[in-house]
């Protein structure tokens, strides 16, 4: 029996309108994400991967199609939270205050003892207990991303969205955090949807990889990665899948299609 998907994306389309130009980003994107799955989205650069993630996260509105499983308006616990490429922590709050940010809003109405319990648990999870009261600017890039993950997990979202979360980190920190994401998935049974441009990262982490075509993007293929965890990037089978994936993602870059990409609106 196939378990009910946590997230169901159907026929998502989005066109950006600039001054006198219109730029179709997503044509018709459909896929599912099952419970406890890690799904990576890959595609040629500028194909609308981030836009897709932002639509799922409720930060942008699609022109057509539907998102099922996460409610944009966020009633109850069926929600999606996002980890951005830059950690986007609030620099005026401490690590701990950043983590509990979502819990203290009226949308959650969390009793204070539950907030305390969760923050202790999350600090433990990301191994940053000693830094609970530090301001973010005293942390390294990897530590900041860990805090961003903890902040996103605090409200127990039904799915964690990650937009190239480790691309600004050095290779060692990146691998460390990839392992931590694995561990968090196993410990908290989190479902994760991650945009990445790094084929090795996708093969290292993902249960399935959704490959988007060039603009306007459609799902060109869904590649399952059947390797057992922990995965070894030097394993010949790993390398074979990675190379296949790289070939599938490489498209003809078609950047002339739109010269102006509108910035995100408030």
């Amino acid at each position: 029996m196939i378990p009910k998907p946590v997230l169901s994306v159907t026929g998502i389309a989005k066109t950006f309108h600039g001054e006198g130009t219109s730029c179709p980003a997503l044509a018709d994107v459909s896929f599912d994400v099952g419970p406890r799955e890690i799904v990576c989205i890959m595609g040629p650069s500028g194909c609308g991967k981030s836009t897709l993630l932002r639509i799922i996260g409720g930060l942008e509105i699609a022109d057509a199609g539907s998102i099922q499983g996460v409610s944009g308006s966020g009633e109850g616990t069926a929600s999606a939270t996002m980890v951005f490429q830059d950690s986007a922590l609030f620099p005026w709050l401490s690590v701990e205050e950043n983590i509990v940010y979502g819990l203290r809003l009226t949308a959650q109405k969390m009793p204070e003892e539950e907030v305390r319990r969760r923050v202790t648990e999350l600090l433990e999870l990301i191994h940053l207990g000693p830094f609970a009261h530090s301001p973010p600017h005293e942390l390294s890039g990897g530590m900041k991303q860990r805090v961003a993950v903890a902040r996103a997990l605090a409200i127990r979202p039904s799915i964690l969205l990650m937009d190239e979360p480790f691309s600004a980190l050095d290779i060692f920190t990146r691998r460390e955090l990839e392992d931590e994401i694995q561990r968090i998935r196993n410990e908290l049974e989190t479902t994760i949807l991650m945009v990445t441009h790094n084929p090795e990262e996708a093969v290292y982490l993902a249960d399935r990889i959704v490959i988007l075509s060039e603009r306007p993007a459609m799902v060109s293929e869904i590649l399952p990665v059947g390797l057992p965890h922990p995965r070894n990037p030097a394993d010949p089978e790993f390398i074979r899948i990675r190379e296949r994936l790289t070939l599938m993602v490489q498209g003809r870059p078609d950047r002339e299609m739109c010269k102006t990409i509108p910035s995100a609106s408030k």
Partner: protein, 261 residues
């Protein structure tokens, strides 16, 4: 405890040297002119400053006059902040509100607060209320403009994080927009305090006031007591400098994150 670097000490030394030089020039000029109706000596000014609790020119003491001015400037400053910060947040947040209010603000802003004095006296009469009105006018715009700029310079990403957690609009304003704009608001407060301090001295020079540093300077002028004027100016300068240093110190302490996010 902040470690003061050798370079900082050297820079302080340079600044101090110029101040000393100016004082020496003043003193030489005063000795040559030898007329304390034109230029009092430093000794005469110091003489006034060294008796801060004694009545000056048959009126209140230096300290009492200073406290009057400080009380007025602080009252006006806080009223201005209480009006300008919420309004600035609103204007920065809503382009609709900005479209309505911006032209009026840009039109009123360049008018020197003192120019309103005749109106102030007509509306509020002679005394504290007119003075407060002038101070509030002077302090209002720097806070407002900086608050608006602060809101506009907030990273969109921070607001998206709030939206991702389904923050309501008042929550977004309270938890993201206000703290995010606060370093700029603080700069506005610093600028506006300096302006308010100048306004209070100017406003007290108008007829009808009975106390304050501006009043004291004007009163001493009428009696030809230039040493008292000099003493008043020293106090005004030192308080202005002290307030500015406090604001700078506060900025460094509270907003260490600025530019490092």
């Amino acid at each position: 405890m902040v470690l003061i670097k050798r370079q900082t000490i050297r820079d302080y030394g340079k600044g101090l040297a110029v101040v000393v030089l100016l004082l020496v020039i003043w003193e030489c000029a005063a000795l040559i002119i030898n007329n304390n109706y034109i230029l009092p000596t430093l000794g005469e000014i110091a003489e006034v400053l060294l008796h801060p609790f004694e009545p000056v020119l048959g009126g209140e003491s230096l300290v009492a006059n200073t406290l009057v001015s400080l009380k007025e400037v602080l009252s006006g400053f806080f009223i201005a902040a209480a009006l300008a910060i919420p309004l600035g947040l609103l204007i920065g947040w809503s382009s609709e509100v900005q479209a309505y209010l911006n032209p009026a603000i840009q039109l009123l802003r360049p008018i020197p607060p003192i120019a309103w004095m005749p109106f102030a006296i007509a509306w509020f009469g002679i005394g504290i209320n007119s003075i407060l009105f002038i101070i509030v006018l002077g302090a209002f715009f720097p806070i407002l403009i900086n608050t608006v700029d602060g809101v506009l310079s907030i990273r969109i990403r921070w607001i998206e994080v709030a939206e991702m957690f389904h923050a309501t609009t008042p929550e977004k304003l309270r938890t993201v927009v206000f703290p995010g704009a606060l370093p700029r608001i603080w700069t506005g407060l610093r600028v506006s305090f300096a302006i308010a301090w100048m306004c209070v001295v100017a406003a007290e020079m108008l007829p009808g006031t009975t106390a304050g540093l501006g009043f004291l300077i004007m009163y001493a002028y009428n009696l030809g007591q230039l040493d008292v004027i000099g003493a008043g100016m020293v106090i005004i300068g030192i308080i202005g400098l002290g307030a500015d240093m406090l604001f700078r110190e506060g900025h460094a302490r509270f907003f260490a994150w600025e530019g490092k996010e």
